[in-house]
Assembly symmetry: C2
Homo-oligomer: 328 residues x 2
């Protein structure tokens, strides 16, 4: 039924090891032998069983990608890019959506541990300790989180926040709100830190209005709180949150951006389609996913010399054309 290396060997009139060599190391075998083998392979439609190979070599050719929520276009975009990159490098991808639940994260990782050569952990929600406990067991690259001794791909949130605040400053804003993301999110802390730091040197007050799930619903739920602070602008943890805000503000008959400015983070497609279009701090999801996989493969190749961290740029995308402040 299932064609194995032995079938190929028999048909080619050689031993299994020769088949193996002919495939793995075409130079290490006589040309005519290789010819025989290749013909047999084609004829039988032989495909090596990677599961069996993994048992023997200890390498599976698989990567594990773990992320908080695939419904967030940011992660979908990153995974798409990562998966494409992985395939180009002859690797398959296990996908695990933990649905924002830190508890299942480490469980999932442990379950997949021996089925992958390494993990790309996107915005992991686990504690530093839990993650560190994994170190040495399996190559890991962190996305959107910085934690020694792991290699990681992060975003230059400080730059993005500075660009955004400068933008708001020029428009005359004096008080801005920040709607935070998950407490367990390193990126959230980083963005807030960047925002605060950018505000220090400017006459702008930053008000942290609290944490919301990084979803449209989460953002919508925070709109009233934001309004109560009387700010003229609000920065959200990410685009989904910002869109939720935008929507609820519109329901409340507040005009964006005339009465209140909203700025998101990620630059997902969706942010460009709403109207008024969302001003946001954009990132290159494709590059993020690629970089993650590249770093991971480097780490796997040489665990002793893990590659350096990579910090990717952010770029403010101003979309609302009439950011005129009318302080209230």
């Amino acid at each position: 039924m299932t064609v194995t290396i032995k079938d190929v060997a028999r048909l080619a009139g050689v031993s299994a090891s020769s088949v193996c060599r002919a495939l793995a190391n075409p130079g290490g075998v006589r040309p005519d032998t290789r010819e025989q083998v290749q013909r047999a392979v084609r004829e039988l439609g032989y495909v090596p069983n990677r599961t069996a190979r993994a048992l023997s070599t200890g390498r599976t050719g698989n990567l594990g990608i773990v992320l908080p929520d695939l419904a967030n276009p940011f992660f979908a975009g990153v995974v798409k890019a990562a998966q494409t990159r992985a395939r180009a490098l002859d690797h398959s991808v296990f996908l695990s959506d933990i649905d924002e639940d830190p508890a299942v994260e480490t469980l999932l990782i442990r379950a997949l541990l021996r089925q992958v050569d390494g993990f790309l952990l996107c915005s992991p929600r686990s504690s530093d300790e839990e993650l560190r406990a994994l170190h040495g067991k399996v190559p890991i690259v962190l996305l959107n989180r910085r934690l020694t001794p792991f290699p990681s791909v992060t975003l230059d949130a400080a730059s993005g926040m500075t660009q955004a605040l400068l933008h708001l400053h020029v428009l005359g804003h004096k008080r801005v709100a920040y709607v935070a993301g998950p407490r367990t999110s390193w990126a959230n802390r980083e963005r807030l830190r960047g925002l605060r730091s950018a505000a220090e040197s400017r006459p702008i007050e930053v008000i942290e209005v609290g944490t919301a799930p990084p979803t449209v619903e989460g953002g919508a739920a925070m709109a009233d709180v934001v309004l109560r602070t009387g700010v003229t602008a609000v920065l959200a943890f990410n685009d989904l949150t910002a869109l939720g805000l935008l929507n609820r503000l519109r329901d409340r008959n507040f005009h964006v951006p005339e009465e209140i400015s909203v700025i998101g983070f990620d630059g997902i497609l969706l942010s460009s389609l709403v109207s008024p279009a969302l001003t946001t701090i954009g990132v290159d999801m494709e590059r993020i996913g690629q970089a993650g996989v590249d770093l991971l493969l480097e780490t796997m190749a040489d665990p002793a010399h893990p590659p350096a961290h990579r910090k990717l740029p952010t770029q403010l995308i101003v979309r609302s054309s009439t950011d005129v402040v009318r302080p209230h």
Copy 2:
């Protein structure tokens, strides 16, 4: 370094076979033996190597999900649900985004063939022949495509299209356009068929304006063609296409829905956030993903008696509040 079943056996003072039994079939072993084994397992932190198990049992505990484009929120939503369901049933998921390229689809499937117990093929772009060639080799469930002898999960496109056309009819529309999706998409043909069939019994003319990639860009590119037909309403293959249309129409200073109505398909979150919100034919992505996995597991359990096809409902979601026609 890595703890195997033998380590457990040694520590528990039993044979490897007993460890295996104690874990797989707790009843088939003496209570005190099981006790010993469980203690050893905990102490050593033993986790069975699923790769090795797969080699022995022939079952991997993995599913493969293949889809055209993860950047499409419809597929992201379906995959999220499917993945969650799979995990609940103790299965892991391989993900493959083929980026709308039929050529890589079968290649990918063949590559993963021995690493999964079955495939969930979402909107497969391959030909009937290519797919049928896979039959018998591995359990397969089709999503968004009907093709004997495969079990499948499909949508009641005809119903959705009928609802939409009735809606347009009531509003007085006489000529509507359909912006098609990929030619290789079964769902596209089905939707067009449903639309045509619904139009037969009504005084409405359906004009197929051509094929567009099922993306925002694809939709945008078709806007001018749609305008040239002079229709008062346009149905798009999916929401992304519809949103592209919406956007470009707005750029052309056409008012939606006053001057032209736009209707999408899928009911992705995005469609509810734009303004005017997109009227669309909604589906339950979560249920689709769940049903896909459920069917697949049934098929795997008993390949001789594959489960029946499942056709899931569609529901027109009217969002634009002022669908008044001003025929031109």
